[in-house]
Symmetry: C2
Amino acid sequence: MQETDRDLLPEGLEDRLPLAAAVATRVMRSALDVLDIHGYDRVQPPSIEFEKSLASRMAGVQPRRMFRFVDPASLRTLALRSDMTPQLGRIASTSLAAAPRPLRLCYAGQVVTIKGDGLDPTRERLQLGAELIGMDSVAAAGEIVAVAIEALRAAGATGVSVDFTLPDLVDTLAAKALPLAPDAIAAVRRELDAKDAGGLVAAGGAAYLPLLTAIGPFDAAIERLSAIDAGGALATRIAALRTIAARIGKAARLTLDPSERHGFEYQSWFGFSIYADGLSGVLGRGGSYTIKSNRADKADEPAIGFSLYPDTLIDRLAEAEPRRDALFLPLGHDPVHAARLRAIGWRTVAALGEGCEERALGCSHRLENGEAVPV
Amino acid sequence: MQETDRDLLPEGLEDRLPLAAAVATRVMRSALDVLDIHGYDRVQPPSIEFEKSLASRMAGVQPRRMFRFVDPASLRTLALRSDMTPQLGRIASTSLAAAPRPLRLCYAGQVVTIKGDGLDPTRERLQLGAELIGMDSVAAAGEIVAVAIEALRAAGATGVSVDFTLPDLVDTLAAKALPLAPDAIAAVRRELDAKDAGGLVAAGGAAYLPLLTAIGPFDAAIERLSAIDAGGALATRIAALRTIAARIGKAARLTLDPSERHGFEYQSWFGFSIYADGLSGVLGRGGSYTIKSNRADKADEPAIGFSLYPDTLIDRLAEAEPRRDALFLPLGHDPVHAARLRAIGWRTVAALGEGCEERALGCSHRLENGEAVPV
């Protein structure tokens, strides 16, 4: 199809057309409904804010990844949100500062980055998530992981798997059982994350080599991690992971990758990634973190939450989406019959003149004598 | 509450907090469901596009009202959408160019302007609407007005009223019954829109004075318009409005203001504004228009549609929103009971440690022996 320049969308930005948009609407509603019935209150922050506000409350949000522009009203820099989590942190520590803790909030919306991520040019994605604020206990972690899995399953994901990590593992071990020179910590973390045994030894982290064996299906990997943990420095973390895993039960396949750091730059003791059958790449991430207070009279708050990026799930479900039934309403039809059939779930498509024909309009049925008749 | 600069949102941008966000979610779902069962397929365009693409397909979208910034990928100017209608036009004439007509599409999302509107500082609003593409007949107009009213009523609006207008009235009359000098047309339109009888005479539009009496409740006003229309130049328009009004019946109060132009700069023969009880200002607008083709092998397309801006409705409904029941799940509760109660509609809030207390968490009920007991 010949198209002029004016029709094209910028790189990494796409329209969702009818079939996929219908699936997206259903996926988002189903997931939000799960968050809602578990007591998570939705909030809706604006799509643009002061850049400082979006970037300052949490590590891990990079201003350089956001579209930024000057606000003629304030003469300050605004940015399109690239992540809704900092907005939830802002709301929790300002408008909802006095609300009881734990505070359960959820959100859904579009987020935009100025550049795609690696080979993926996508610059706008749907984000949906939940945050539990004021607490980052094992019980809180168990609820967050369970709710994330339930939301994804309700949205249509199958074969959900969750990969646990301990984002501050190296710091914890370096402080107690396996001392490291302060300037070696970053390198050891990096080589562990890359699963590079040679690099790990070269970085002075030979003592950390056994961690590379504590990776894989949860039950076996946690046993190996436990065996390594001679000094007991990780005992409470290991017990916490076992408790969370027991809570999940058979709702998802569980794996462990205790030294995974990529994507968990701002998490504290606990992190997890979610995957599902047939979807390449991670579907979402979560974990514990700290909401920084910016007021002298208010302490930082622990929090735990997750974010899902359902675009790949939506695309996959759209491929298998069956054609919907639709009822053609011929010219001169009785609107009372049409309204009655809509009220019991029919989707109607009305003729608006000669030449409107049921097959052309993709209808499966036709209204005849007050009844839906297959065409 | 003492807040630092970092907490504040830019002028005209706001968070929707739990109560209002729950109402917003319900309002948008209810309205979209009505559009869906009438055969309108949702599409989801991106929140940013090339400025040219947003501004060029229709008159009435002003680039100066949009946040604009340079795309580092294309080095072209992007803009945050200030109106989703042009995006629907783009989709209809590109990706869906080959889809059968009439094409029924709908949409919902956030739109942003760089400045508020007059005294209202709001810069981000929800927009929701439907477009019927390939047709702008009387039957199409009747369906669009009826669906707009039904969507608003489903969303919770009461006392809906619709004000009809004829956007090209002056052009039609000037071409036939009441000739005007070409350079007087704009002034006559402006004075009629302002309902300024003196100004109208001064602008050379004395012959148009009787139009100022054809304003008000529909049945009486259309009679007066008919009486004025000596030459019959408006006969088909008057018949069309009567047909649309008959279709609406008692679903809404109808009024006529045939020379209203403000807000209908890009409409053709038909326009309407929607109001509801207790809401100041217009809740939405609609009408017929033309989607300009940008391809030599493709003609312009007639279209008709409407946009609703439900923010004021959401705020109003949130004021009267009752407290929701919520079921507290004490520590050590049986998750099977909790899941069963969620499945039949309960919203649950789980204790996550000592100190979590049902009253503090706003719960109306407590799980005891597998049953919900009021607290």
